[in-house]
């Protein structure tokens, strides 16, 4: 006879997992909420926000332009060969513009920023944690969340939409380069179709995505670094795991939230 315990075990295990996941998500949310609210605690740390905007935004511009140019070019190429079968290469502008503004722009920007700035954030905060610099802030009566996390959240909220906009524009020209300059689609058609098919709603949707990705990225990366000391691994090993999981988790979450957001925005 199967005892009741055997039946209960998998259910209990599932329950434990769900509970621990819920608790984890709760902690992450509280971490973000506190960090976000502390942005507005006077005096507002304009200097630190400016430094972070430079680090997250300005220093990412080049890599964003590069990625955007090649993404746009590939879209132009692929789009052209798909459309040429139906003789509707004039629609290339719409195809490139819509896929950039709605999807590629926000998602690829987020992923590039995660790779460039998110990993650095997790590593920097993780090192500050293991070398007791975060404890040192506490002993000086400085709130580490306000001092370290809030400026990064503020800066990410400013930078992500701007970088996404840059991505969109550069990508559009990339599409022009391969579609029109290389493969001969009429540039006038390309740009007029691009202009007419993209509506305000698409652009707003893209920006909403960018803002959500900013929150997801900066929260996960800072959270992973900030709680490096709670890992089973210590020291450099702990920081390396924090950095890796920051990048992996935030990339996955960006793609996941992208799907969810798209279903709502369409």
């Amino acid at each position: 006879m199967i005892s009741l315990v055997t039946l209960k075990t998998p259910v209990a295990a599932l329950g434990r997992e769900v509970l621990s996941l819920t608790r984890y998500l709760g902690r992450v949310f509280l971490f973000f909420a506190r960090g976000f609210l502390l942005i507005f605690q006077p005096p507002i740390q304009f200097d630190k926000i400016r430094q972070q905007i430079f680090f997250i935004g300005m220093k990412s511009v080049f890599v964003i332009c590069l990625t955007a140019a090649f993404t746009g070019m590939v879209l132009g190429l692929q789009g052209y060969y798909a459309l040429v079968k139906y003789g509707s290469t004039a629609a290339l502008g719409s195809a490139v513009a819509l896929s950039l503004v709605r999807e590629m722009g926000p998602v690829l920007t987020a992923i590039m920023v995660i790779a460039r700035a998110g990993s650095a954030m997790a590593a920097e905060i993780g090192i500050m944690r293991i070398s007791e610099q975060i404890d040192a802030l506490k002993t000086m009566d400085i709130n580490p969340l306000r001092y370290l996390i809030s400026p990064r959240i503020a800066a990410a909220l400013v930078c992500f939409p701007l970088l996404t906009a840059i991505f969109d524009v550069v990508g559009l020209f990339g599409g022009y380069l391969s579609g029109s300059a290389l493969l001969g689609v009429n540039p006038a058609f390309y740009f007029s179709r691009a202009q007419s098919s993209v509506e305000t709603g698409d652009i707003v949707g893209g920006f909403i995505k960018a803002l959500v990705f900013a929150v997801v990225t900066v929260t996960i990366c800072c959270f992973q670094g900030y709680y490096t000391h709670t890992r089973a691994e210590f020291g450099a090993k702990g920081v390396s795991i924090s950095t890796t999981s920051a990048v992996v988790i935030s990339c996955v979450l960006v793609l996941l939230t992208d799907y969810v957001l798209t279903t709502f925005l369409l």
């Binding site: 070398s131 007791e132 610099q133 404890d135 040192a136 002993t139 000086m140 009566d141 400085i142 001092y147």
Partner: protein
């Protein structure tokens, strides 16, 4: 001590992971005193310090400040309390993304109502006192280990705190610097009256500056008392620990250590009582003429003490014992010597000092004025050792003075 303690730990227990690091710690820290916490590596000294400042919360037990438990305090009270503290981290915990000046200024700059000129002035003062020149705009990662320690000290002292917690402030420094840092901590404590808690492995050096010593072992306080008490404790475990760390020679001066000296004193006392063989003691202190502000001054005094110890050894017989008695003081035990002969011993040293300037040596210590004072006393069979030393302390006369 009759006054109520400033900080009181009652049955504090803490488990980190699977280790019960603190297992019912009871400890009192008194106002205006330096309490040294000693113990084996990994015995929970740093964890104890983190409990005092509130970086860690105890699982059991409570920590009282002026009789009030921290857990019963309101957030503004906790904040006010935390501002009275400073903490010197073992690994310095300086911020790599800030320069040296910004690091030292940070605790002041982040306070409401900070005036930039005032901050600048106080930061500059502290950097000068710790002889940190030409490093203002360097990153802490560009500094040597000893310099980082000094920047960390500057950052902790710049807020002029009531209570300073030092987590191994001298580990990794050379003997002269080590003594200079100790001398500075003790000097500051006398002048500003802060309460200090120092976690240290520097035995016996730390006994020179601490008023109380607590030894932690297996998560409990194994011993609590004065530095004299701990050196005479009947507890073998404690004695073994101290004697294991203490070398028979003082690492800085090369003369005998305090415990070796105390043994000699007791032996001479026994000889006097049994065989009426007289002996005298001489206490010689080297003091700077006025307040020493900067660590270079403290270093110079320690370097001079080292050199002075060589002179004392050259002028003494094999049977004489000289040992480090306090941070700036050397004691010489002269067997078979009466007070008159002891005084002539002092004069002899004084004459050699006149001929041979202590400064004309290889190392680059700063030229400062100093005063050598000596207290001479001949032992009597009916007097105790404490009385004898107290008599020598009170009988100090200046026997050599050097101008800067």
């Amino acid at each position: 001590m009759t006054a109520s303690p400033l900080i009181e730990l009652q049955n504090v227990a803490k488990t980190l992971g699977v280790n019960r690091v603190l297992d019912g710690v009871n400890l009192s820290i008194h106002r205006g005193e330096i309490t040294a916490i000693i113990g084996k590596s990994g015995s929970g000294k740093s964890v104890l310090l983190k409990h005092i400042i509130g970086l860690l919360e105890p699982d059991e037990g409570s920590i009282l400040f002026e009789g009030r438990s921290r857990s019963a305090m309101s957030p503004p009270e906790k904040k006010a309390l935390r501002r009275r503290f400073s903490y010197v981290f073992q690994e310095t915990a300086l911020f790599d993304f800030l320069t040296v000046v910004e690091n030292v200024a940070l605790p002041l700059a982040e306070r409401k109502g900070a005036v930039p000129e005032e901050i600048q002035r106080r930061v500059r003062d502290k950097l000068n006192q710790l002889d940190l020149h030409d490093v203002d705009h360097k990153s802490p990662s560009q500094l040597s280990g000893g310099m980082k320690k000094r920047v960390a000290l500057a950052r902790a002292l710049v807020t002029e705190p009531d209570i300073v917690l030092f987590d191994e402030p001298t580990t990794g420094l050379d003997p002269i610097r080590k003594n200079a840092v100790h001398s500075m901590i003790s000097d500051y404590q006398r002048r500003f009256g802060f309460t200090g808690v120092v976690v240290s492995h520097e035995i016996p050096d730390i006994f020179f500056i601490a008023q109380r010593v607590a030894m932690i072992d297996s998560g409990r306080i194994r011993f609590e008392g004065t530095p004299e008490d701990i050196q005479q404790t009947p507890d073998n475990e404690v004695r073994n620990f101290i004697e294991g760390l203490e070398s028979p020679r003082d690492p800085m001066t090369g003369i005998a250590s305090q415990s070796v000296g105390q043994q000699h004193l007791r032996r001479e006392m026994g000889r006097l009582q049994r065989h009426q063989i007289p002996f005298s003691i001489v206490l010689m202190s080297m003091d700077p003429p006025e307040k020493v502000e900067r660590i270079a001054g403290h270093m110079a005094i320690q370097a001079l003490l080292k050199r002075f110890a060589d002179h004392v050894i050259q002028n003494s017989y094999v049977t004489d014992t000289c040992f480090r008695y306090a941070i700036n003081t050397i004691m010489v035990v002269l067997p078979e010597t009466d007070e008159r002969q002891a005084r002539s011993f002092c004069r002899k040293i004084s004459r050699t000092l006149e001929q041979d300037d202590l400064f004309d040596a290889r190392d680059h210590t700063r030229r400062i004025g100093y005063t050598l004072s000596a207290g001479v006393v001949q032992a009597r069979p009916d007097s105790g050792l404490e009385e004898l030393i107290a008599a020598a302390e009170s009988d100090r006369t200046v026997f050599y003075q050097s101008s800067p």
